[in-house]
């Protein structure tokens, strides 16, 4: 039996994803090969990661591009299937990513409604929390403008406000804080604390070492799909920055 304080348990997880060959195969090649299925290669992105996430913890996930950080988060939310190993958790984590906007043509207010309903709120619940979400996003003046007219910082704030409107038990943040300003980071810190004080856990993926130092209790350094080091943020960040990795940060 595992430690009762564990919220997510990753055991020897392997994730591969398909990369389709570019450009998509045309008719000519299709006929030549006698089949129309697009060719793809399996890229091993996560290769045997084991880690535990605990109550009240913010875990930082660092590593060079292509280390498998985002893939690991996607696997934790169930967006990507595991090839082997297991990931178990108390509840399905919410992933906050850097994707563009929900519905660019619609106003911020409509986007809050749509996002809230997708999250499982009833319409009445969304309406009730509307003001709170708008204020949290700091968009009182701009909320009725189409979302495509927002700056990237405003979009990030709105997405963050929507995704955390119901405090998730397990929150995964993939580079979603980087675009915001200092005020946004302060709000994000507040929400992260909300999650933690409610016995939840947060995983933060970022290339910004100040964010790691500021938010995280523990850091996992991923490299080529494997855990290279785990430990205290200050120590790991120092090692990471000193490492002669060609494309780190």
């Amino acid at each position: 039996m595992s430690d009762p304080a564990v919220t997510v348990e990753v055991r020897d997880a392997h994730v591969s994803y398909r990369v389709f060959e570019e450009p998509a195969m045309g008719l000519k090649q299709g006929f030549a090969r006698g089949r129309m299925r697009r060719q793809y290669r399996m890229i091993p992105a996560v290769q045997g990661v084991t880690l535990d996430l605990h109550e009240h913890e913010t875990l930082g996930l660092i590593g060079p591009n292509g280390a498998g950080k985002s893939t690991l988060l996607a696997a934790m939310t169930g967006l990507l299937p595991l090839r082997s190993g297991s990931i178990r958790g108390r509840s399905r984590p919410s992933l906050l990513g850097v994707s563009s906007v929900l519905r660019p043509a619609l106003s911020g207010r409509r986007n809050i409604l749509i996002g809230g309903l997708a999250l499982g709120f009833t319409r009445a619940e969304v309406e009730r929390r509307m003001d709170e979400i708008i204020d949290f996003a700091g968009l009182r003046a701009d909320i009725d403008r189409p979302m495509r007219t927002y700056s990237s910082g405003m979009r990030a704030r709105l997405r963050f406000a929507i995704a955390t409107a119901r405090i998730p038990e397990i929150l995964l943040i993939d580079e979603a804080l980087t675009v915001g300003d200092e005020e946004f980071r302060r709000l994000a810190a507040e929400r992260i604390d909300d999650v933690r004080s409610a016995s939840g856990s947060v995983v933060l993926v970022t290339h910004n070492m100040n964010e790691i130092r500021r938010f995280c209790d523990r850091v996992v350094w991923l490299d080529e799909g494997r855990v290279r080091a785990v430990g205290d943020p200050a120590d790991i960040v120092d090692c990471y920055l000193a490492a002669p990795s060609p494309n780190s940060r």
């Binding site: 595992s2 430690d3 009762p4 304080a5 564990v6 994803y17 996430l53 605990h54 109550e55 009240h56 913890e57 996607a74 696997a75 934790m76 939310t77 169930g78 967006l79 299937p81 595991l82 297991s86 990931i87 178990r88 958790g89 509840s91 399905r92 984590p93 990513g97 994707s99 906007v101 929900l102 519905r103 660019p104 619609l106 409604l113 749509i114 996002g115 309903l117 997708a118 999250l119 499982g120 319409r123 997405r159 929507i162 119901r166 405090i167 038990e169 302060r186 810190a189 507040e190 604390d193 933690r196 004080s197 409610a198 016995s199 856990s201 500021r214 995280c216 209790d217 523990r218 430990g231």
Partner: protein
Amino acid sequence: MADDGGKPGTAADGGKIDTAAEAAEAATAGVGAGSQEAPIRPLIDLTSRPTARTYLREAWRRREFAIVVPAQDLRAQNMDTTLGQLWHLVNPALLVGVYFLVFGVIIDTRRGVDNFLGFLIVGVVLFHLTQRVTLEASTSITQNMGLIRSIQFPRILLPAASVNGQTAAFVPALALAILAVLATGELPTLRWLVLPAVLVAQFAFNFGTALLVARIGTTMPDLRQILPHLFRLLFYGSGVIFSVDAFVQSAAWRRAFALNPLHDVITCARWCLLGEPVDLWVVAGLVMWSVLMPAIGFWVFHRSEQRLGA
């Protein structure tokens, strides 16, 4: 604010700081069900696909999404036009007008039909519904990638929203069709009471088709180009503009038409509203499609849902 709470457990073990206050807070925040200290909640497998049952229950819980979102989209659709929401009525009227002009007046396909306008309008309106649902659903996933990548929710809600939206937009057209049928001298009979059953069967068929094309449309965007032609072919094979019974002599061929789901829907609806003849094969075809298509659609959609976001 920034760095408080950064203390508990830098090492592997993150926290044993459960206090009553925090437990209460957790409860009010709506998370951590049973943070009453003792009960240890079992960990659930996060990577496996939910069973069809749990999946459907979850989708049903969030069904409001598939109702509110298309309603908003419909409202936004004609916002900048002069006629505004009236277009949902004017559009099908014009559609029928064009077909009546071409096939009722210029090329006369009225053979064997007493009330051609009523015949035509019922066919056109019902056919158009399935066509609109299918086209809309084929891009329902690709157009909502932002939402898919931001929020974890049952993706079936997206094609479901297309179905609901187009079905709602179809209500004025249906009203128009019924008015036209009345205006051309038909009187309501007991058969009219069967019409809702036919429409429910069509809805089920549309829903299944929507799931299927939504799935195919994500890996093969070419579908968007193919579908209009497929529908044109179906259109002529559905007897929308002519009576299959009057034009097709061979009984075997007529039976083949029963395999066309849209022919089944339209023929049954005409039987209800206009008293046109209906073959038992056509009724059987409609029942079959309305059961088979949702099953196929759901199976295909659910099977690969996990890949949709990637």
